[in-house]
Symmetry: C2
Subunit: 461 residues, 2 copies
């Protein structure tokens, strides 16, 4: 019988996370205060628990995963590695297409990989409540799930356009006992300011982050902390179990060389989770093409400059060195809510600047076409975010066919789309449009960086 | 590290289905025409393809699973066997609680186990289109998924109350290319008759079955067949992969004796799928308590008589020997739509009459309480149907604690509730009520059986 998946047992789960910061050709650029001075760990203490801040700034290549976190991860991990044989046949490609199925987790995406780690570290540190923001709801539901399991209160600010489009994700958070509020809200100064300017604001991840951070730092009890589902180093770190498992699984079936690694990119965490362990090989000399895929409506890696910018709209976060469309940028309301972020993880941006990764962008309709083809061949219905990776996978597989090459393609199937079915409905009814960011919007965004410190890699030699 | 799941590889999937009909202490009662004469395979030919009819009447204990069906099953099977250690600790029970996680399939329930088999047999037989009914949408989405994979057209009549309450399941069917219509509809004579009597009819599985069967048999091309998601022998047969896998998995971890096997029951297929292979052991002398759990609003096994009755409201199906509340019975609109069926599988009914199984019923609120406790300890959000099994599991675990007994409980986690979150919302807002079938409704139903042939087991000796 044709094998289509490779499993690992509970005790084969990776015992350490991989930290790309240890291996980048030039040192990562530190977060800065608006005046250009570096942010110290102490300055972040009102926002994050110190154990996570230590991970954020760690230069160590390998970081041990505590036993208690491994126990939480095994609720759904190791995730299966699938071979997409049915899609391969449908495309008539000689390529071998593998994917990590991250949709098996209770909330249905890769997000719990870091949610359970963050919840556990917060609990360890004595925190009673975590606050966060969410776009499509993948991250909010992951933190709600993790909080229920470790016994934390959880408050989530959900971007209003998703709150309205995707009621089921809110209901999921509530099933796990979490409080979910649409953002912009009247609960915070940041939210009230936005609502004054535009009472109909669809919201954005940038705005919701401002609200969540404000709530955390303004809680006088000192028992609330903020939690972020992407972008930061420690978040990407926690996701590397994906790529580390994939390596073990490929080895198990004797697949020695991966040619292309693909993941969709919003903040960058699912992409990094799969890709960073392979970037290690690439830095060591392996010939691997690593492709982050983003929407044409929010093209950070493909079109935005590498700058120091805030992670949020109200400029409450430090300046991060990253590709950014400007902290006040509000992306078009595409259905891949998780990809609607003005910036992208500093480590991913850095890898792009080093030429280690080759970003691509796709428009919404092409992605939904690929998603429907996937559902009807491979069976699983992908999230709109995941469909961006799929579009690139299909193109790579067709290229392999045209070139007659037996390429090995690996990608991250970051989550299922069962709670995003309204977007499929809109697609079938011809109600979706493509969005490509106009050049003038990009120029307008550039003006925001005028007063910021310059972001430049410090190449040795 | 504590192991919480037991996996099987693709090549460890069972190669044969188990047929309980071969081992029942007294012979199964055949389906009958209204005049009391037995139904012949030829009479079923306009409804089902002959290869499935042969399975329906097969007396063989083991039936080979074709390689092509195994390939389809491995898309999500073997399913993991989990140990619910977190719930065990929350309940402080010495019981060991194991469950088969059938929610990992693309549509999210156990239903694809038979859907892929039925779709494949229909395709083999030259059928071009399959027609079916669905309650909560679990079965309809499973057949839509299977049809997409083998290349069949698919038409689904969905019980209106679920069609309205659960739009996402309809959207899921459409994502797989299936046509889904609310029932009662104006497309069939059966539907039009019901709508004349009650234009606001919430529908029922019995009505929807009538519509689907009528559509199949009245298609002049001869290329349409009907497909049923539960009740019939061949459907239960296909589900036995669940119990057969569970046995392998328990053996792998040295768990020698299961004390209690639990599953929720609507038509009976997920219960049978897990339980029948264990009933084989019980018939051979093992001491196992086997518990089907049904809603108090639709208490077939616990309160209805064992009779010959039609499987559908319009009396298009043969008479089946089963526990039935009467073919015109319309159950209260509980959220566990998949358990709203007036009858229950003949093989399950037969096992009940033989005293092989010990049915129980639970009311809706108690089930949702158990579901929420489950979600917040074990992580996965169960379907409302599955919550009925959970309520019994919790009771069994508490009983083990009170008796100080190390019992081994195994149950079928038949599907996730991500598309049923509106029902959790209603539960949290206090909008759900319990329904217990009034005695007078039961008596009224009894009148329906007056003219039917008597159903009596033929005990040997």
């Amino acid at each position: 019988m044709e094998q289509i998946k490779v499993l690992l047992n509970d005790d084969e789960i990776p015992r350490q996370w991989y930290n790309l910061a240890a291996d980048l050709p030039s040192p990562p650029l530190p977060p800065l205060a608006p005046d250009g001075t570096p942010i110290t760990p102490e300055m972040l203490a009102p926002v994050f628990p110190m154990n996570l801040i230590e991970q954020e700034v760690s230069p160590q290549r390998w970081i041990d995963i505590p036993e208690e976190i491994l126990a939480l991860l095994t609720i759904w991990r190791p995730s299966p590695l699938f071979r997409a044989r049915r899609l391969e046949r449908a495309l008539g490609t000689p390529a071998r297409i593998y994917y990590k199925h991250e949709g098996m987790s209770p909330p249905g995406s890769h997000k719990p990989n870091t949610a359970v780690a963050q919840a556990w570290y917060n609990k360890q540190f004595g925190v009673k409540r975590v606050v966060t923001e969410t776009g499509a709801g993948q991250w909010g539901s992951a933190l709600a799930f993790a909080s229920a399991l470790v016994g934390l209160e959880c408050l989530v600010f959900m971007v209003r356009v998703s709150f309205d489009q995707k009621p089921y994700r809110r209901l999921m958070m509530e099933a796990w006992g979490c409080n979910c509020i649409p953002s912009p809200s009247k609960e915070t100064q940041a939210g009230r300011t936005i609502l004054q300017q535009d009472p109909e604001s669809p919201g954005s991840l940038g705005i919701a982050i401002s609200e969540a951070v404000e709530t955390a730092v303004s809680d006088g009890s000192g028992q609330t902390r903020y939690s972020l589902g992407s972008v930061l180093n420690h978040v990407l770190l926690h996701q590397t179990v994906i790529g580390l498992e994939a390596k073990k699984q490929l080895e198990k079936i004797g697949e020695k060389q991966v040619d292309v690694v693909i993941g969709c990119v919003g903040g960058g965490s699912n992409f990094a989770g799969l890709a960073f362990p392979f970037l290690y090989d690439k830095i060591c000399g392996a010939n691997i093409e690593v492709v982050p895929v983003e929407p044409t409506s929010c093209p950070t890696l493909t079109r935005a400059p590498f700058v120091y910018d805030h992670g949020d709209t109200a400029r409450m976060t430090p300046l991060l060195a990253m590709h950014s469309l400007g902290h006040s940028f509000v992306p078009a309301p595409i259905h891949a809510g998780g990809l609607r972020y003005h910036g992208v993880a500093p480590l991913v941006s850095h890898a792009a600047m080093e030429g280690l990764i080759a970003p691509r962008s796709y428009s919404q309709l092409r992605c939904f076409e690929a998603a429907v083809q996937w559902a009807r061949t491979e069976g699983y219905i992908p999230a709109p975010e995941t469909s961006h990776a799929l579009a690139a996978v299909v193109d790579e597989a067709i290229k392999a066919r045209e070139e007659g090459q037996e390429r090995v393609i690996l990608f991250n199937w970051s989550g299922h789309g069962l709670l995003d079915l309204a977007s499929y409905d809109a697609f079938f009814r011809g109600k979706l449009t493509d969005y490509v960011l106009p050049e003038e919007d990009l120029k307008r965004a550039m003006a925001e960086f005028a007063g910021h410190p310059k972001a430049e890699l410090h190449k040795e030699g």
